[in-house]
C-alpha cells in the first residue's frame, strides 16, 4: 500500500493535478502554452493576493529563494535576516554566498520574531537594503507575524522579502495589503503538486531594485524573467511544461474551494491537530503554530524516530522528523494542501495507537474527541474536493 504523506512537502498530490502532468506535451513557444502560462500567472496573483507579477520558475523552492535574494542587493550591501529555523538560515546562507553583509535578528528555534526586536535592529542598522523573513518556518512549525513585521519594515522604508513556501495557498497571506515586496512559494506545498516549480511575486519596488542589482546571476536573473513575462507569458528558458499545466489545474481546485475557505480549512486542521496532541499529554513545540504543519515534542523517554517509524509501520502514514539538532526530539505532522477533517482524525487515531504501543500513557480516543470538538466549532468539517 502506498504510504500516505503527512509531511510538510511533498504533500499528498491531487490525482487530478498529477494527471495533468501526463498530458501530451505542447511546445512552449506557442500561443496555446502562453495562454496556459498567463492563466497560471493570473491565478497565482489571486492566491498571493497581489497585482504584482508572480514569476513561475523551473526549480525547487530553494532556487526561487536564491532568485528572491540575488536580485535584491548588490555585493557588499548590508541586509538583514530574521532567523529562527533552518529555512530562515537559508536566506542568510544565500545572501552570504553572494557577498551581502548580513545582520541577523536572532530568534530562538520554536519562537517567533518579536516586531520590536526587528525595529530595534533596523534602527541600529540604518543602511539595511532588504529584510528577509519567513512566514511558516517549516523546520520548527512556527508562524511568524508577517503582517506586523511588514509594518515595521515599512517604518524604515526597507523592502521585505518573505519565504511563503509552506504558507502560500494554505495560510492567510495578503501580499498587497501587507506590503510584501517578494513572496516565495513552491509547487509541492499548498498547491498539492509535485515539486519542480518555484513562484516569486515581485513588487514595483523590487523590480527597480532588481534592475539596479549588480549581483552576478544568470538563470535567476529576474530582469530577464520579468521582461519575458511582460512580453506575454514567456520565460527566458524552457519552462517545466507539464508542471505548469498541472499548476493550472491546482489553481482551479483552490479557487473552486475559495482561497479564504482554504485558509479556514488549514486553520481548523491545525487547531484540531494541536488540541488532539495536547489531549494526549504532548506539547506543541513552537510558541505560535503554523497552520500548515503541527510540530510536536516527543514525550519523555520516547524518540520521535520511534514514533515516526512505528506510525509508518502500523498505519502507513509518514510524518517528518526534526532537522539538525531537533532530530529525534520532535515530529512534524504536515497538513497543507489536500487534507480534510477526516484525514486529521485518521492521523490522530493512528498516533494514539502508536504512542500507546510505545508505552506513552493516554486515554484512547482523547485525541480524537479533542480534534472533533474543534471541528464541531468550525465550518470546515467537510473534505476538500478530490
Amino acid at each position: 500500500m502506498k504510504e500516505k504523506l503527512y509531511t510538510p512537502g511533498p504533500v499528498e498530490a491531487s490525482p487530478l493535478i498529477l494527471q495533468a502532468e501526463a498530458r501530451p506535451l505542447i511546445h512552449h513557444r506557442t500561443p496555446e502554452f502562453r495562454a496556459e502560462m498567463k492563466k497560471a500567472g493570473e491565478g497565482l496573483q489571486r492566491i498571493f493576493q497581489t497585482d504584482d507579477s508572480v514569476l513561475i520558475l523551473c526549480c525547487s523552492g530553494s532556487g526561487a529563494m536564491e532568485g528572491a535574494t540575488v536580485n535584491m542587493f548588490s555585493p557588499g550591501d548590508p541586509v538583514m535576516v530574521i532567523r529562527g529555523g533552518k529555512f530562515a538560515d537559508r536566506w542568510m546562507n544565500i545572501a552570504k554566498a553572494y557577498g551581502a553583509e548580513v545582520t541577523a535578528v536572532e530568534v530562538e528555534w520554536g519562537q517567533v520574531a518579536d516586531p520590536d526586536a526587528v525595529r530595534k535592529a533596523l534602527k541600529a542598522n540604518p543602511g539595511t537594503k532588504v529584510l528577509f523573513g519567513t512566514h511558516s518556518e517549516t523546520s520548527t512549525g512556527a508562524r511568524h507575524d508577517v503582517k506586523a513585521l511588514a509594518a515595521v519594515a515599512r517604518e524604515f522604508d526597507v523592502p521585505f522579502v518573505v519565504d511563503g513556501i509552506t504558507s502560500v495557498g494554505a495560510m492567510e497571506l495578503r501580499t498587497k495589503d501587507w506590503g510584501l515586496d517578494m513572496v516565495v512559494g513552491g509547487s509541492q506545498k499548498g498547491f498539492m503538486m509535485a515539486p519542480g516549480l518555484g513562484f516569486v511575486s515581485v513588487s514595483a519596488r523590487a523590480r527597480a531594485i532588481a534592475a539596479a542589482s549588480k549581483t552576478p546571476r544568470f538563470y535567476f536573473d529576474f530582469n530577464k524573467a520579468l521582461k519575458s513575462w511582460d512580453a506575454g507569458g514567456d520565460t527566458p528558458f524552457t519552462p517545466a511544461i507539464s508542471l505548469v499545466r498541472s499548476l493550472v489545474v491546482a489553481i482551479e481546485l483552490i479557487e473552486e474551494e475559495g482561497i479564504e475557505n482554504v485558509w479556514a480549512r488549514h486553520a481548523a486542521n491545525g487547531a484540531a491537530t494541536r488540541a488532539a496532541m495536547k489531549a494526549l499529554g504532548l506539547s506543541i513545540y513552537p510558541s505560535v503554530s503554523s497552520e500548515a504543519l503541527t510540530t510536536v515534542l516527543a514525550p519523555e523517554g520516547i524518540t520521535s524516530d520511534a514514533i515516526i517509524k512505528t506510525l509508518l509501520k502500523r498505519h502507513g502514514m509518514r510524518l517528518a522528523n526534526g532537522q539538525d539538532s531537533l532530530k529525534g526530539r520532535i515530529f512534524r505532522i504536515g497538513h497543507l494542501g489536500l487534507y480534510s477533517a477526516g484525514d486529521i482524525l485518521a492521523v490522530v487515531g493512528a498516533l494514539e495507537d502508536t504512542l500507546a504501543s510505545l508505552g506513552h500513557g493516554l486515554t484512547s480516543g482523547a485525541g480524537l474527541s479533542a480534534a472533533q470538538q474543534v471541528f464541531a466549532k468550525s465550518a470546515h468539517r467537510e473534505s476538500a474536493a478530490v
Copy 2:
C-alpha cells in the same frame, strides 16, 4: 487534433514516460526514492558513457549550464568559449555574468569549430582554466567534433565542458573515452520527457576544480550536490520527484532499444531527412549536421515562417523557426527522441505538399524516395518502441 512536435526540444514525449509523472508522490527522503534516484543516476552514467557521477538537477538545461559554468572557475579567471550559435553564446554569457575573462574562438554560424583554430587559441592563451564547447548546436543544427576538440584540450591539459543538451541520448557521445570533464543534458531532448530536469556529469578533475572555485553560488553549488549524491542518492534541495520517476522509465526505454541502436537510429533519421531535403532542391544549412535535428534553408522567395505555418495548418506538424538573425531564413526539423523512419517519412511527405503549395517546384515523392533509399541501406528502418 494535437500537433505532432518535430521541434528540437520539447520533443514528442513517450506516453509511458508521461504516465510515470502522474503516479502518486512518494517522499524524497526515503529509501524508496533514493533507490529510484540511484537507478536514474546509474542509468545516466551508461547513457553518458562514463563512470563519473551524473548530477540530476531540478532546472531546465540552461540552469544545468549555469552549474557547469560557475563551478569550473573563480571570478577573474581566463576561460575560453567555442562560439558558433545561440547556445554556445549562452556559455559565454553565463561565464561573463560570473566574472570570468572570456576568450572566444569565433565560428561562423552554421560552420563547425576547427580543432586547429582551438589549438591556436589555447596556445595564445596559456592560462586558460576551462574550455566550453557544444556538441549539437541547436540554433544552427551543426554537429561539432567533440572528440577531436577534446583531444586538443587534452594537449594543453585544459578541462573541457560540453553542452550535450540535444546530443545526449541521441548522438554518439563517449564522455569517458573522449575525456570530457562535464557534459550537460536535459530531460526534454533525447530522453523523450517533459522539461524540468538538467543533468551534468562531473569528472574527478572537475570535482577538484569545483571544490576550489570561489564563484558565488548556492543552488548550483556542485560541492553540495556531489556530497548529497555520494551520501547515497540524495539531493541538497527537494528534487522534482515526478520527473525523476519518469526519468527512470525513460532510461529503461532507451536501454531496451540499446544506446548504440538509439544513436544509429538518429543517424539514419538525420541522413534520410537531409537526403530528402536535397532531393526537393533545398540546401542544408550547417556544414556538418547534428543527428538530432536537420536545419534547412528556406528556398529563394519563400520564408521559413510560411513553410512552418502552412505545415502546421495543413498537417498538424510543428517545426522550429530560426532564432535571432536566422528567423525566417531556416526551418529546423527536430528528430531527437521517439522518432521512427515512419515519422520521418510523414514529415517529408507533408513538407513536399507544403512546399508545392507555396510554389516551390518539386517532383512529388522525390523527397520520400530519397529518404527511403537511406533507410533501405540502414538497419534502423523499424520504429522505436513507444
